[in-house]
Symmetry: C2
Subunit: 211 residues, 2 copies
């Protein structure tokens, strides 16, 4: 739809705008401004206006943004008009937390299948899902046409699991395994590794003293 | 130590380099090259050399990098010479997964205290920690001098909890709550919100069809 590619850093801020607008909507706010959004998000209003301008005109000068309208537009841009089915691979502590998380549905996603390779977990129930054998990922995920995955397995299992997911047709992987996944062009990965995120912050702090 | 500020995007890649080098070390590899690292990480060797050059000379032309030496240097740069004490706020499903996660210690962090505001959880044990009342965060976190926090509470509790953590002296917050935290200058936040990460990827996909 866009005439030139949008910088990924801009794309990355849209879900944050959407989240803030959704909170405003829940609070009963029907109109907002780039300045109000900016204050909530610790950004500048110019940044927000510039980001949104990549996609069209969503507000009227001096009148601000209609919250519900802007939510609808962001959901359209982010392809959230229909729920995305998601496959979860890994039913350990983190997989359990993800499977039980109630926040996905309102934001465009629903877990559809849960896999684990541990024989003691296969066949057990987790958050209403019967845990399937990871060996069947290619068969079952392909059959359901699921294209989004969350990967919550140990580092050593992550790349083989990724290969199976891609073979099954998955195009987007939220990777919780503490390792870098190698994927072909056209497959998107986002990485969540708490230690990486923590280390990125400690760089800026004075180190703790010796004990 | 550096003469000019390092771009944050460069800082953000250092923990990923460190993770890959640590994996190489476990595999018994003693020497590597920017090319080998690049292949593992899906980056270019020029990128890696440029990033590292901000901090000094760590390899010899044609001889590559000594893995253990480069690990030590990255740990020094990221202030990981001593373990950082971490406070965990929120003992729900996600807090439980974080408290039980075995991967922090080797990477520079140890959880020291766990808080929750739910009376049914206060006093219970989680992964060896007695859960303390969130109302005591300022008192207890300040007393222990803890400067790093993980926040795993519902969105509505996140900003008040953040205010308490900052009052207690916390300077770095890994935020799992699905909301943007407003913090003063000198306090660092990294955000983990799986729906935001998923939405950032679906932007690039063909939308699912109607059902």
């Amino acid at each position: 739809m866009a005439t030139k590619p949008i910088p990924d850093i801009v794309v990355g801020r849209l879900p944050v705008y959407l989240r803030a607008l959704s909170a405003m909507s829940v609070e009963g706010k029907s109109v907002t401004s780039s300045q109000e959004l900016a204050t909530r998000l610790g950004l500048t209003s110019a940044q927000i206006r510039k980001d949104l301008s990549h996609f069209g005109e969503f507000g009227k000068q001096g009148l601000g943004y209609n919250v519900v309208f802007l939510i609808e537009q962001l959901r359209r841009i982010l392809k959230l008009g229909q729920l995305w089915d998601v496959v979860l691979v890994g039913a350990g502590d983190l997989g359990r937390a993800l499977a039980n998380y109630q926040g996905f549905h309102d934001r465009g996603f629903r877990i559809r299948m849960v896999f684990d390779s541990n024989p003691s977990k296969i066949g057990q129930t987790l958050a209403g899902f019967v845990i399937s054998d990871s060996a069947r990922v290619v068969e079952l995920v392909r059959r359901e046409g699921i294209r989004v995955a969350m990967l919550a397995v140990p580092a050593a299992q992550a790349q083989p699991a990724t290969a199976h997911l891609i073979e099954a047709g998955v195009q987007a992987i939220l990777n919780y395994a503490p390792t870098t996944l190698i994927v072909p062009r056209g497959v998107y990965v986002q990485n969540i590794d708490p230690a990486v995120h923590l280390q990125r912050m400690t760089y800026y702090l004075e180190p703790p003293g010796p004990r």
